[in-house]
């Protein structure tokens, strides 16, 4: 038995804080990786996954240092390596694959130039030989039309292709080890599956070991031989993938698994801890919301959309001459009390639908959007606009940009209803605190500024802001895609809870079929601005009629649950 290629023993890493103290990022982490094997490191953001990857590459910042333990590559401890010695192994013995291929490639150099540069820097091949090798590398990374791609620039290629080119660069020197840091997080599911398959094939063929850093258990299930679960810098559990996923031993791993939504069956709630205390404030908040959100009209058509198209001008950014057709003849209805899911890959136009409904983008001529039977285009008067903004609200995707950073949480929640005269300023203060309790935050949170909250907490504040209007319909634009899976489970639980107590009508946009399955009654599948399939969520997501929907479903990374 050979010594493992990579042996990390009892590694501890600390970051120096501004005031001179050390904050321990990694403590006592160990990992053994045999040649040609793939090991996953999973954990929430902030768990220290990337820090480990950077330590192996010697790319930690000046303020980080290894406080204990060893990282041995083929028996040689590299933790004390100088920058020059690291430079000698980086690219040659250890390759690196970045999260976002679009930023990892140099936008002003052609693919060929970048590949050949990497080849010439790390191998003895030169000139025509290097070029021939570049084509060979692209082919092994399953890039179609490899020859032609050499002359292209990164912006001319899709994200998936760019990531394959990053693979080709990483394997150019035939390294022993590749660190892949969230290699598919920036990609669509359909692309993700194929790209991961290529990476796995490369590892097997060329006997390359991979340390795969990810937050996605589905990716681990598809890729990894073994997995290490990291929580706040500590190794919680490690073992063969099947064992860790199938029968996790530790509480944290079980929670992590329980938080993952599945597309195969709908669960009433995710099995994560929720902290809703039945306080007077929370009861008051819910009573306030109930009194305004008209229930009992279930089944009535609330929103009716006909012939919705949207063309963006060519000069408005993307697209070629003649403009970019983001939406093409979309038509559907939203009924009171239901949750309608809209799924599709990025660029399929799902967010544009919402922005058109909310009046944030102007649809093309001929479109008709009617709310409660009245065309929105006719509701131009001041009173109508106010009524409309009271009825239609939105929960945004990015919790970091959706709150005004210069207002405290309480004001962020209530400024709109105060401005519309729905409540007085004095009432708003109490109401903001009540609503914070409704969404599971403490009353004291009202006085804090947005930067003091985590992403999940900010999203709760965003939900409270939307609820404050007591709207008829809430448009949820990928509300959990920027969040960790455990936080996502909490937010989804909260939304389910509110859905049930308040009878909300939701339009829920997501690229994640599993999330849509958990949340929605009906679902619309979008592709390139057109509706592909529409129907009952259970049917569409278990027995789709259209090939495209089937492809989407097949591309989803799946985890074999024991009880599924």
């Amino acid at each position: 038995m050979m010594a493992p290629l990579l042996a990390i023993e009892d590694l501890s890493i600390a970051y120096q804080l501004g005031d001179g103290r050390d904050a321990e990022a990694i403590s006592g982490f160990s990992l053994h990786l045999e040649r040609g094997r793939i090991v996953g490191i999973v954990g929430q953001s902030g768990a220290g996954k990337s820090t480990i990857g950077k330590a192996i590459l010697g790319l930690m910042g000046d303020n980080a240092r290894i406080t204990g333990g060893t990282i041995a590559l083929d028996g040689t401890d590299i933790t004390r390596f100088s920058e020059a010695r690291f430079a000698a192994i980086r690219g040659k013995r250890i390759g690196y694959i970045y999260q976002n291929p679009m930023t990892a490639l140099n936008p002003v150099l052609s693919i060929g130039e970048q590949l050949i540069e990497a080849i010439e820097a790390n191998t003895t091949r030169r000139g025509g030989d290097a070029r021939a090798y570049a084509v060979e590398l692209l082919k092994s990374a399953e890039v179609t039309h490899a020859e032609e791609r050499l002359a292209k620039y990164p912006h001319q290629l899709s994200g998936g292709l760019c990531q394959r080119i990053v693979f080709a660069i990483a394997i150019a020197a035939q390294p022993d080890l590749i660190i892949a840091d969230e290699p598919t997080t920036a990609l669509d599911v359909t692309v993700q599956k194929a790209v991961l398959a290529t990476l796995k094939k490369l590892a097997r063929e060329k006997q390359i070991s991979i340390v795969l850093i990810t937050h996605d258990m589905g990716v681990v299930a598809q890729m990894c031989d073994g997995v290490s679960v990291l929580w706040r810098g500590r190794l919680v559990e490690h073992g063969p993938t099947a064992q860790v996923i199938g029968a996790p031993r530790e509480r944290y791993t079980r929670d992590l698994m329980a938080a993952i939504p599945t597309v195969d069956h709908k669960r009433a709630r995710f099995d994560v801890l929720d902290s809703f205390e039945d306080t007077p404030g929370r009861r008051r908040g819910i009573a306030f919301l109930k009194s305004g959100i008209a229930a009992g009209r279930d089944g009535q058509s609330l929103l009716s959309i006909r012939n919705l198209s949207k063309t963006f001008d060519a000069q408005g950014g993307r697209g070629t001459s003649g403009g970019f057709r983001a939406l093409d003849g979309v038509a559907f209805e939203v009924f009171a009390g239901e949750t309608l899911g809209i799924v599709g890959e990025s660029g399929s136009g799902k967010s544009t639908i919402g922005r058109a409904i909310l009046g944030l983008v102007e649809p093309d001529a001929g479109a008709s959007i009617a709310f409660q039977g009245r065309p929105i285009a006719e509701m131009r008067g001041r009173r109508d606009r106010v009524a409309l903004s009271r009825s239609l609200q939105c929960i945004f995707q990015d919790p970091y940009s959706s709150l005004n950073p210069r207002m405290n949480a309480g004001t962020n929640i209530t400024y709109g209803i105060v401005a519309q005269g729905l409540v007085s300023r004095a009432e708003a203060k109490v109401l903001a605190q009540d609503l914070l309790e409704v969404v599971g935050l403490p009353r004291a949170a009202a006085g804090k500024m947005p930067h003091a909250f985590s992403g999940g907490e900010r999203q709760r504040i965003g939900i409270a802001r939307a609820l404050a209007f007591r709207p008829e319909l809430i448009f949820c634009d990928e509300p959990t895609s920027a969040l960790d899976v455990t936080v996502q489970a909490e937010i989804l639980n909260l939304m389910k809870e509110l859905q049930e107590t308040l009878g909300l009508t939701l339009v829920f946009v997501s690229h994640d079929l599993a999330v849509v399955r958990q949340m929605c009654d009906r679902v619309i599948v979008m592709r390139a601005g057109r509706m592909v399939e529409e129907g009952n969520a259970d049917e569409v997501l278990t027995a789709p009629r259209e090939t495209y929907t089937r492809d989407l479903l097949a591309a989803m990374p799946r985890i074999a649950f024991e009880d599924a």
């Binding site: 804080l17 501004g18 005031d19 303020n63 909310l358 009046g359 944030l360 606009r385 106010v386 903004s389 009271r390 239609l392 609200q393 939105c394 945004f396 995707q397 990015d398 940009s401 959706s402 709150l403 005004n404 950073p405 210069r406 207002m407 405290n408 004001t411 962020n412 400024y415 709109g416 209803i417 105060v418 401005a419 519309q420 300023r425 708003a428 500024m449 965003g462 802001r465 209007f469």
Partner: protein
């Protein structure tokens, strides 16, 4: 006022201290600014003589070197000029004029620039184009040349100088605010505000302004020191403030004729004060700019 944030004043003070702690040059600059401002503010009380009261000037005191005693028995620490004016007093009053002109012109320039920049962001289209091309036009003129031109056309005077300087200042502020504002406009909290039915003006002043103003605040001190220097230049050239309310620039210009005849003190005193004042402001401005630039400081 519910839109604005309340932080305890102690918190503000601590953050203020954190900006300057460990930067002795910036602290010295800060002390300098406070000192100069106080002297300028209380010049009538502090100055040994009222340099503008013609009846108290005595031609017999003319061109006395530093540390001389005047005819009325007071000590002239920095000497006197040709008409017997005490230089120390003149400098104190000169600082008043210099600072006043600089502060008002920067205030006006920043206010106009910020508002026009925000309007450009909010309205877009041809309004944006007109505002920004006008800004480009202003910036394509050398500042002093533009001011000279204006002052030649409209005549000199403190108000004209303020106008001339403000024209130079508004354009860069409008550009800066527009650049920051455009990126803020794309953020969802603005969409949320529009969705909440908040009016354009309110979005502009309550949402966009507080989030786009920080970089402007960082360049304001720089603009003030620039305005002090520009005013001094104009006054030195004789097109600035009138002789009846001399600024530091005019005082330097007064002594210019005597420099070569060995009476250096007339120009040197106001010159040194000018340099010290601008230097103080600049080191503080540098510190603020570095503090605001995340690339130059390790974030904690």
């Amino acid at each position: 006022m519910s839109e604005t944030t309340f932080e305890s004043s102690a918190g503000r003070f601590d953050r203020f201290r954190a900006v300057f702690a460990g930067y002795p040059a910036a602290v010295a600059g800060l002390i300098g600014i406070v000192l100069f401002s106080l002297i300028a503010l209380f010049a009538p009380v502090l100055a040994p003589q009222d340099p503008f009261d013609q009846s108290r000037l005595d031609i017999m005191d003319g061109l006395l070197p530093p540390m001389s005693t005047l005819m009325d028995g007071t000590l002239s620490v920095l000497g006197t000029d040709a008409v017997g004016r005490d230089i120390l007093s003149a400098v104190m009053y000169g600082m008043r004029t210099s600072l006043f002109v600089a502060l008002v012109s920067v205030g006006a320039g920043v206010a106009v620039g910020v508002v026009l920049g925000l309007v450009a962001v909010m309205r877009g289209g041809w309004i944006d184009a007109v505002i920004m091309r006008t800004a480009d036009l202003t910036l394509s003129f050398p500042g002093v040349l533009l001011a000279l031109l204006l002052l030649v056309v409209f005549g000199s005077g403190a108000d004209k100088v303020i106008l001339a300087l403000a024209i130079g200042i508004w354009a860069q502020n409008a550009r800066l605010v527009r650049a920051v504002g455009l990126s803020e406009m794309k953020k969802d909290y603005i969409a949320a505000a529009r969705l909440a039915g908040i009016g354009q003006l309110r979005i502009m002043f309550h949402f966009l302004l507080p989030n786009a103003i920080s970089p402007v605040l960082v360049i304001v001190p720089m603009a003030i020191s620039g305005a002090i220097v520009a005013e001094a230049t104009l006054s030195f050239l004789g097109v600035g403030v009138p002789i009846t309310e001399p600024s530091l620039g005019l005082l330097i210009s007064n002594g210019n004729d005597y420099l070569l005849s060995g009476r250096w003190w007339i120009s040197v005193a106001p010159g040194l004060v000018l340099v010290m004042m601008v230097l103080s402001i600049n080191v503080v401005a540098d510190r603020l700019r570095d503090h605001a630039n995340p690339y130059l400081q390790a974030r904690t």
